[in-house]
Symmetry: C2
Subunit: 661 residues, 2 copies
């Protein structure tokens, strides 16, 4: 029952219509709306909360249950020390500028980008006007979702020098490279002003994106609301490893809220200050990133946008199987490839249109401070391509810094099947002689000898056999005699290998996926662009079945309640709509809620025990006994049957009651 095949959407997508539906059917709304609201905070109503809960429930099954991941639930409020070590206190910041007169604040890179793009657009218009044609080509494709905002800069249609156009384009491409000082220089050089007022702006100032708070009554313990759930996994790594019997690989997973104090959040649910994340930290041997289940996804064909393509200036995706992508080295290893495949299958199963999905590899200049490689699942929306899932190789960064700071052992001890046997030059210091002779220098001399590499030790052995050698320590050279030190070639047998695991992190922004899914699911009936439909799959639809008594006759209501009870006991959320609205209005309301099926209780339900079943996307109806229809619904909602299959099991319905057609 693909949404693509049945819908007859002849209306171009209008975001305002979707947003109106979201409010009307209470999917979400601005938080504290009655108090005027605050940018970047949203509340989810019954439809939105149910949709989100269903997405998360499927996420839990698809990832945690299916792969035996270790779920954790760690605190939101995080001790400052933890985030100092992870680098967030120092580096998790954006640059902001202030309008020198109005005081309005902008994120510096967004403002520069915004203004330059507007000027380039003005240039295009001016050139087109000179040639007597309209600008029909698109403006440079927005790279992130931030571009089309309410505060979009405008520029007059002024033709620019060809050289300046080229400079502007190069600046845009390199924008992620610039630090605050460099952004300040750009602002001066190009006379970039506040878009809203055309006033000058202050030089960029760093602004940390974490919300800060004090813990306890003394105010001396500082904490931050976590900007990601990941650190909660890392600080518990030793216990998790122990829980997994000391073995790697394993993954921990966490679903929870994170917080980022965005400078100037716009773009609806796509850039918010409080959001739900679902994060997996897959701990893996750095020398062996193969994955035992990779073969299960090797055949999956995904659209990839590797680094090289982007460097060549193209955004054309390469569509290939994950097996090929890994074997050709486009994707570094099986574990990364495996998760890309699992992410793809997850997004497809909840209803994301895979024609509007791509995996884009990060350029080296845009990766987070901890990442060594990263592929983003980007979903196309009316805001452009939006990063919805990051799949990063964080290497051993986090465990290493926490281990160093806390002096904890975060290594994995692997018993080697075959002990590693090798020969090694080993120096033995004779402290009883060395100490008295070298006195205060004894320690540095000893350290210098122990620090020598194998090649130097081999040479020193030969020299000692010949009578003497030398070692440099603390800027001086010391003469070493055989009585001070002996060097032997020993056979070493290692049966334990010790290493800090690497981390592959698939990190899901649930709110962004939620919003993209709504855009992909939304369309309007051919006959009326105000009759919106959300073609959400039964798996995630907020409510699975609408039960409609055809009238307020008292004989119908007990049947409706009984059908509702039976569906509920089968785990299917059903809602009775016994309002006085017409059947057509009630169907339309539930099309807007994305409810895939509707059961209509009419007088034949009383006399013959039948019930009709309506499918949302086609509006087609079938009929059967109440038992049959409930059985079919169980199969449909479990995804074991599609609508075509349901039509084979239920009879045609040509009732006169159908006011929906």
């Amino acid at each position: 029952m693909s949404t693509q095949t049945v819908k007859k959407d002849t209306h171009p997508f209008e975001r305002a219509q979707l947003e109106a539906l979201m409010t009307k059917r209470f999917f979400y709304t601005q938080a504290f709306e009655i108090y005027g609201g605050v940018a970047g905070f949203y509340d989810y109503g019954p439809s939105g909360a149910a949709l989100q809960a269903n997405i998360l429930s499927h996420w839990r099954n698809h990832f945690i249950v299916e792969e035996d991941m270790l779920e954790v639930d760690t605190t939101v409020l995080t001790l400052a020390d933890v985030l100092k070590t992870s680098g967030h206190v120092d580096k998790f910041a954006d640059w902001m500028v202030k309008d020198t007169k109005s005081g309005e604040i902008y994120r510096a890179d967004h403002m520069v980008e915004n203004v330059i793009e507007a000027r380039l657009k003005g240039d295009q218009e001016a050139r087109a006007a000179a040639e007597g044609r309209a600008v029909d080509g698109p403006a440079p494709a927005p790279k992130t979702e931030e571009k089309k905002t309410k505060k979009k800069a405008k520029a007059a249609a002024v033709k620019l020098d060809d050289a300046l156009v080229e400079e502007y384009k190069q600046t845009l491409a390199r924008l992620d490279d610039f630090n605050g000082e460099q952004l300040g220089e750009l602002i001066k050089k190009y006379d970039i002003r506040a878009p809203a007022t055309d006033n000058e702006v202050t030089p960029p100032v760093e602004f940390n994106l974490m919300f800060e708070s004090n813990i306890g009554p003394t105010g001396q313990v500082k904490g931050y609301l976590r900007p990601e759930t990941a650190q909660g996994h890392f600080v518990n790594f030793e216990r998790l490893l122990e829980f997994n019997n000391g073995r790697v690989p394993f993954a921990s997973a966490q679903i929870g809220k994170s917080f980022r104090n965005e400078i100037s959040p716009r773009a609806g649910l796509l850039r918010v200050r409080e959001f739900v994340m679902a994060e997996i930290e897959h701990f893996v041997d750095p020398q062996n990133k193969s994955h035992p289940r990779f073969k299960e996804v090797a055949h999956v064909v995904v659209p990839l946008l590797p680094r090289e393509t982007q460097e060549s200036g193209s955004t054309e995706v390469v569509t290939k199987s994950l097996g090929d992508a890994v074997s050709t080295g486009m994707i570094d290893n099986e574990t990364l490839g495996y998760f890309i495949g699992r992410i793809y299958l997850f997004l497809e199963s909840i209803g994301i249109n895979t024609q509007r999905l791509r995996f884009r590899q990060h350029m080296s200049n845009e990766m987070a401070h901890y990442a060594s490689d990263c592929w983003d699942a980007e979903i196309h929306t009316s805001y452009g391509w939006v990063e919805c899932v990051g799949c990063a190789d964080r290497s051993a960064y986090d465990l290493t810094v926490h281990a160093k700071k806390t002096k904890r052992d975060m290594t994995v001890q692997e018993a080697l099947k075959e002990p590693k046997v090798y020969e090694k030059y080993v120096p033995t210091i004779n402290k009883k002689v060395l100490g008295p002779q070298f006195k205060k220098d004894a320690r540095v001399v000893e350290e210098a000898i122990l620090a020598c590499d194998q090649e130097r030790l081999r040479a020193m052995q030969g020299e000692l056999e010949a009578g003497r050698t030398t070692v440099s320590a603390g800027g001086n050279e010391f003469e070493i005699l055989p009585e001070h030190c002996t060097i032997e070639l020993k056979t070493i047998k290692e049966s334990i290998r010790s290493y800090v695991p690497n981390v592959i992190e698939p990190s899901f922004g649930i709110g962004r996926i939620f919003y993209a899914l709504l855009e992909h699911s939304y369309w309007a009936r051919e006959e009326d662009k105000d009759r919106g439909v959300l073609s959400l799959p039964p798996l995630v639809a907020p409510f699975k079945v609408l039960i409609v008594p055809i009238s307020s006759n008292e004989k119908l209501s007990p049947i409706a309640r009984e059908v509702s009870r039976r569906l509920r006991s089968a785990g299917i959320t059903a809602r009775i709509d016994d309002s006085s609205a017409t059947i057509g209005r009630r169907y339309a309301r539930n099309d807007e809620l994305g409810t895939p099926f509707a059961c209509t209780i009419d007088f034949a339900s009383v006399s013959k025990g039948t019930m009709t079943l309506r499918e949302r996307d086609t509006t087609a109806q079938r009929i059967g006994s109440i038992d049959e229809v409930i059985d079919v619904l169980k199969e449909l909602c479990a995804g074991r049957l599609d609508w075509a299959g349901a039509c084979e099991r239920l009879g045609e319905y040509n009732g006169t009651q159908d006011v929906d057609q």
Copy 2:
């Protein structure tokens, strides 16, 4: 398969043993432990997170799905204005005192209580010693979980005057009544000192329990981490009402984290700074608090501790059916009674021992500032009786204050079946005459006339007929003539009734329930007090089935994986333990995890396709074909079969492999 019937726990409960198990099997641990930790913050590991997720999943089914509640998910970070209106900014505070020398901070009421209780205990010991007997009676029963803390005050065995003992007891009983000044007087009067150092303490200072933060880059928008989820429901009330087609009663529900900056949190999971709540706000007609489904719980017998009993100084519960409790007025109305019943059934179903559960009505002096009545579900633990679910009637408090502050209409419009018809005196002002004659006083005169009550208007009508009347406004008396105003007796017909609904709020502290459940589930095998068992019901057990290959033989592993796959696809979480530990060790480990069932894969699985099934509490084993055992497991985990039933369907097992017995 009641836990009470099978366990042979002859060891007294030791909290330290349970806590050691919690850490060893990673149910939970102190957050940021490797950074030294911070009091009141806990991280949940895989076993704890799974147990919590299962409790919440069942909560969602038992309440939200079963009762068609409207789930919401509102922000944690809350605009200060919202919490100012709700009263939390001004009133959500405790009193704290500081040790004048060490600077250590105490919650004032807890310190007073703590020290007085210690002195009373010392008195008892002294009296006992004088009489030559040990103190065998218990100390005054702790009312809250705070009493037995690490920093428990100690007092020498000193006999006190009888009068002082009486004064102390009365003080303890009234402790919730005292404000900061009064607590300060108590501290002076009784020379109460810091328990840890015996130093003097400062006078009590108010400390607001909300974590504060700033939103946005200007620092001018203040927010708090919500101390409860409830306000998120209330500020969205209008949309929720609209979603429910304007009808009342309906309930909204929310599961999410809340935060309270406790002054000095101890007592493990029972008093924490970050915690998961599950809250229901049931909106109801204040004139009709009947509940359509009350009859479904009327027969449920619950242990009640009403206000009157407590006022008489007793803590003996009254055990009666909810039907009786409501009809006799002990519980105020059906809706409160219904939720008390549903809460009881919920707690029972997840494994709380109902012999250690009671519903205690709040005394009038201990209710929150918004509540008009409240019954707490209290669960008995080693810390004493612990409030785990509050079931409060918040009346119309919240909606009223938010409506007033934001000037929104939060009333329900009810179409009356029978229009209400009555007569009413209605004044009509003749502004054209009144205005020019009264000039600047015209407005206050008009307002004064319109503000008159019916009795006054009736009198005025008579006076006007007689020629003149008077009205007081702004401290002056004005003469009103028939040309200024006419008063008529009109027949009024009202077809709409408008009211602000009342709110019944069942509010669940999930962490407290979680901890109480662990205490109730924990016991140790008769033969060894170190062999702990958690008798968690399959419904909530973190993992349902352990799969144990009897050896590392390569023929067993594929069978184990296949059984795991089949169970998983039936929605049953199974974990394979193929570690090298003995079977007995592996069983014992999973007894500690609360895993109710274990399947053992042995060589008969290879040759005959059989598998044994072990039950955790009895350690009994049965045998059947792999298919049979999986079918039985499905029924067991769904709660459709108990162990006795399973034993009828599977054969006896007398295998020599059973090293567990």
